[in-house]
Symmetry: none
Subunit: 429 residues, 2 copies
């Protein structure tokens, strides 16, 4: 949910990326992402972005569409010397502008080709010096094609080369400060804050939080982003006088959410629940050992993804076969036979067994049916038992996780981690 | 430069990605790239792509703009249960369609929320069952929000969830074949074939293969795609009369490459080396046990990512601490003290120890420094010893892998799998 962010006075920006390779998916449009982030941070409301092929008509359509919507349009790509570089022509066509050679740029291009050992400027290259009369040409330190900037119909239009390094450098070194000057006083920068939750579905979270009522000098909005092991809340403060004021209001909103989120919230720089568990264990100076059946090493792998895991993880056992459960973990054969490998008793015996054998403070055991085979009417695919023990306390749970093998394994491993976090916190639901 | 690909009879496709986070650059638009690639491969001319914010008016504008240009429009994102999910409403507004509850979808959503332990369907969630009358709802195996497909003004409009995994699965499992049927005879497909290699760098592979000379009625080209555990070769046949003719020429090219590729090639439907090793072990009816230190469960996790892994993987041990190496694997304490934990002797003792303790045919042991801490002048970060044993043969290797923690762990695990594959094949270099 993003509450309406703005009165009409915040300048809007659009991005038009030109290139066949963007549409056929052979190249990821990193320019669009990068520019979106920089323009938002600068304080624009980025409301439109499109990719069009290297055709004059498509570029023309894209420009006209954009100028209906935005105060500032940035076009990338198609400024080079080859016949498929048609951005200048498409933009000029859309705006009814003529293109004339820019003398300083022509000289610079001639000098550049001389430095590269060519005896003359290749014919196509002269096109790179064409610009609408009165345009500002922006030198490109990393390539031949300069950027262009001009006003048309009360809008600012900027053309930048498509090579990411060239585009970024021109933006950061020159354009950004020009944009700040041109739209001075109207830009409203956004300040973001992420809050991580696990163990509560997106729809219930949205229901419990309800609409945000805080509006001071600006607005604070919340977006729900389903993510890996849970739901990320992104709080965004817009329209405040400065960053400090915005941070103050974000603090207020965050505190007001704490009663709802407390039980589900976790803290991890990367957003990963395994990192959160590792941080909790390290700060409590507790060690852990894990025993996995259906997750097959995923839990150990997740915990060891993060540097410093050797400080708390003593080791793990992947016990797929009954023999491994008996031999490596001391699960009694009688329990396996009577209760079956997917049972509370086996999950508990695995957690306690691996903890004892490795001399750890805490233990986790997971056993279940990840599928696609191996399900039965009593224990369908997705059925998982998991247990965590810490000190004298052992807790176990079962759940029938939805999804495919990958989802079931991931969800089982997150659920087991949440169970141990809960044991460590004492007060979680 | 892409030569004009089409007369007007090739169907055109457009992609509209909905989400504030795409415009503000907080999320990279991987859906747009992925869909562009798949639609191009399928034989569409992808001519338009745009990203718009989570606002009804913006979605409406985007749809109208697209339907001026394309025969098939795919919209992603904004189908979830929260109030910022507005794609259904925006599309309906643009096309003048009403939205009515789809009963089967409502039942499926109720069943799903019951499985997730909720006593009722949250209010917002019922919106996920809304669709224009007569639309086809496409079940989403990985999430709640279904896809939608319907005809409007002679165009095909498809709405897909924005979560990449859900979007991709719906596209691959259902939509692709429907699109093929709907635009039957007008699509001009390229035929691709992937050949998987591991253990040889891209530049050497390109050198050894040289330029492809085969050109018959069409052309076959090769692209080198560095990928996960090696380099994929993508062979592309273009301009052939039909798929069968193209496949015949691809067969010819593939055979001509075999003498160069044989030693490095592997076979796995998902492209994953772990799957290839699992398939080899299963077809040879051999069992495996693995012992990991620096890879921390990644090897076991990779092997168990694939269904049927219980047929060959008896189990694994993650032995981070010396105590775990001694207690769970029988690595002699004296060897750990004299040679250090990262040594040939320890890797071999881990491979043999885990194989014996679990009674497997084959064993793998990996020990190394994944970083960022733990390096020394003699054993810098990236130093890994790995060993594989099968029957009476044990082989071990060391390598100083480049990259960060994640890259080092992945590369070590692939190298160890290649070593065992080599032992199994007998004839690999």
């Amino acid at each position: 949910l993003t509450l309406s962010s703005a009165g009409g006075d915040i300048p809007s920006a659009g991005i038009l990326n030109v290139g066949d390779e963007l549409l056929s998916g052979l190249t990821t449009n990193t320019n669009g992402t990068w520019l979106g982030l920089r323009l938002s941070e600068l304080g624009f409301d980025v409301v439109w972005r499109a990719a069009v092929p290297d055709r004059i008509g498509s570029i023309e359509d894209g420009v006209l569409e954009a100028l209906n919507k935005v105060d500032c349009l940035i076009v990338t790509g198609g400024l080079g010397p080859t016949p498929d570089d048609l951005t200048r022509e498409g933009v000029a066509e859309a705006l009814g502008l003529e293109l004339v050679p820019h003398e300083d740029t022509l000289s610079a291009l001639r000098e550049r080709s001389r430095l590269l050992g060519m005896d003359r400027l290749p014919e196509g290259a002269t096109r790179m010096a064409l610009a609408p009369p009165g345009a500002t040409l922006i030198p490109n330190p990393h390539g031949a094609a300069p950027g262009l900037m001009f006003e048309a119909a009360g809008r600012l239009v900027v053309l930048l080369p498509g090579v990411p390094r060239e585009m970024r450098d021109i933006f950061s070194s020159r354009l950004e400060s020009w944009l700040r000057d041109r739209f001075h006083g109207r830009l409203r920068s956004e300040v973001h804050r992420l809050v991580l939750t696990a163990g509560i579905p997106e729809s219930r979270l949205a229901e419990e939080i309800g609409p945000l009522t805080e509006t001071g000098p600006g607005t604070v909005s919340v977006a729900f982003l389903p993510h890996q092991c849970g739901v990320k809340l992104r709080l965004t403060a817009r329209g405040f006088r400065d960053r400090r004021e915005a941070e103050g209001w974000l603090d207020g909103v965050e505190s007001s959410l704490e009663p709802v989120l407390g039980a589900y919230r976790y803290h991890a720089p990367t957003g990963d629940l395994a990192e959160a568990l590792g941080m909790r264990l390290r700060s409590a100076r507790k060690t852990l050992a894990v025993a996995e059946s259906c997750t097959g090493g995923l839990l150990a792998k997740s915990l060891t993804d993060h540097p410093g895991s050797s400080e708390f993880l003593l080791g793990g056992v992947v016990a797929y076969s009954d023999a491994a459960k008996i031999g490596l973990l001391g699960v009694p054969r009688a329990v396996l036979v009577e209760r079956g490998a997917v049972s509370r008793q086996v999950a508990v015996a695995m957690a306690q067994g691996v903890r004892e054998r490795l001399g750890a403070d805490a233990g986790i055991g997971i056993t279940g049916v990840a599928g696609p085979g191996g399900g039965s009417p009593e224990k369908p695919v997705g059925t998982v038992w998991y247990a965590a023990c810490l000190g004298g306390t052992t807790e176990s749970r079962t759940f029938q996780f939805p999804g495919d093998r990958e989802a079931i394994r991931a969800r089982a491993s997150w659920a087991a981690m949440r169970l141990l976090l809960r044991l460590m916190d004492g007060n979680r639901p």
